[in-house]
Amino acid sequence: MKRSFALGAIGALTLTACGGNGEEEADSIIVFAAASLNEVFEEIGELYTEETGAQVSFTFAGSSGLVEQLENGAPADVLATADETNMNNAVEGGLVAADPELFAENYLVIVTPAGNPADVASLEDLEDDAVETVICAVQVPCGAATQRISEAAGVAITPVSEETSVTDVLGRVRNGEADAGLVYATDALQGGDEVETVEIAGAEEDPNLYPIALLENADAPEAGQEFVDFVLTDELAQNILSEAGFTRPQG
């Protein structure tokens, strides 16, 4: 009883607060975004709030987990995933209000420890057993991308370890336990001075795509669409993405 009374009081307060804001429909949105977007979206969110005055709260998790939460009725205005597969699942589930649009790409690179001790210059060099290479297991998205790119290049990588996450691959290269590893360009940038990046020929033609879309059940569809447009077109937002290693979609 006490609790419902308290909730009612809070509801009344919220109502008055909204009423006080006059004409504006809503001034806060909820964005569901892939875990790999955590840092860049926090920054973009701050910019967006400065520009429009609308507050953004984020939920970061694995893309498949986000879609599952939405399917179970989690409230959100915008969804940004780290691959098209999960966004397509959201579209098929009727969760998305407008066609998703691509706002960033990420592609695989080779990282080596600082100084490149095994002299890795190309994907072909990873066929050598003497080069201790670490990749993602094929069951996780970065491993699937690794398989696609090595098959396309006709290269049979002989890994010493297949990790369950891309951060584990980076970790092994970072502390010098592996001569080379395949990670995303954004991960390579996170490795800083401890790693060197070797570009893979043709990797940019098979990138990992990041789509964003307004959701069907958005409480604030206008502010939500504003955020989507902001990520897609704002020059500063795009700068934040490219500084983190993301590239602009070519399509």
Partner: protein, 267 residues
């Protein structure tokens, strides 16, 4: 024990309630997992090449680690049981550290010691020994986390021995090695067996140290727990099936060992 004293030493009836709840804490989640089991595909899931490779690797590395624990852990336990010096509690708690350490921390410690950039990398390279990304790394990780279980069991058993019997043997002219071989070891066999079983079971379940230190490659370093973790990404059915397999192996080993070692105690 006769039936009269047995009745007197029996615990009060009310402990049944918390006791059964205690059993439920363990059994309920296992039952919950069983309900997710895909029985129709079970044989197929368990006999896939990757599952069999993981099972084979887990069994032989855990056995090797248990043997290593016995060879090194029994002398260590004897040392701890007989040592008399001021710093003994500190030494003991250091040796038992892996019991309380998160396995990932153990893995990092092993990495910075035996890894290719680790403290001993120069010496290992000199002798041509490669540890990282080999099954040897798995055995090392398992030995590291399992050793305390064996040491505790054996030390407790040794401390429980009647010193007068051992002294009598000395008076009769037995050598110290002779006493160890013909008296101490046979007398502590139950403790030795249960310690070895615990070490084997702990090795079988080892995950964190292996993941952080050894690597993750089918047939080489990807043990059953690592295979379960990987399968969970794409095929939860396979992960549940493999978990059941791991539980099955553990139950067989533990019950076989305890049914044998508990018999002499009941006499």
């Amino acid at each position: 024990m006769n039936s009269a004293t047995r009745r007197l030493t029996r615990p009060p009836t009310w402990i049944l309630i918390p006791g059964l709840l205690g059993a439920a804490v363990v059994l309920l989640p296992v039952t919950g997992m069983m309900t997710r089991l895909n029985w129709a595909q079970l044989p197929e899931l368990l006999t896939s090449a990757s599952s069999l490779a993981a099972l084979r690797l887990s069994l032989w590395t855990a056995s090797a680690a248990t043997v290593l624990c016995l060879i090194l852990g029994v002398p260590l336990a004897l040392m701890l049981a007989h040592a008399r010096f001021r710093g003994l509690p500190v030494v003991r708690s250091l040796v038992l550290l892996p019991l309380v350490l998160p396995p990932v921390v153990g893995g990092l410690a092993l990495l910075y010691t035996f890894g290719s950039q680790g403290m001993l990398s120069g010496a290992l390279e000199f002798f041509g020994i490669r540890v990282a990304y080999t099954s040897l790394a798995v055995v090392l990780a398992m030995t590291f986390v399992s050793m305390p279980f064996l040491v505790i069991s054996v030390e407790t058993a040794v401390r429980g021995l009647d010193p007068e019997i051992l002294e009598a043997a000395t008076v009769d002219g037995a050598t110290r090695t002779g006493i160890l071989r013909y008296m101490v070891l046979p007398l502590i066999t139950p403790g030795l067996v249960s310690g070895a079983v615990l070490a084997f079971a702990r090795s079988l379940g080892e995950f964190g140290a292996t993941l952080a230190f050894a690597g993750n490659q089918q047939g080489v370093t990807r043990t059953l727990p690592l295979e379960i973790y990987l399968q969970r990404e794409t095929d939860p059915d396979a992960a549940v099936a493999l978990s059941l397999l791991l539980i099955g192996v553990a139950i067989i080993v533990i019950s076989a060992a305890y049914s044998r070692s508990s018999r002499p105690a009941e006499r």
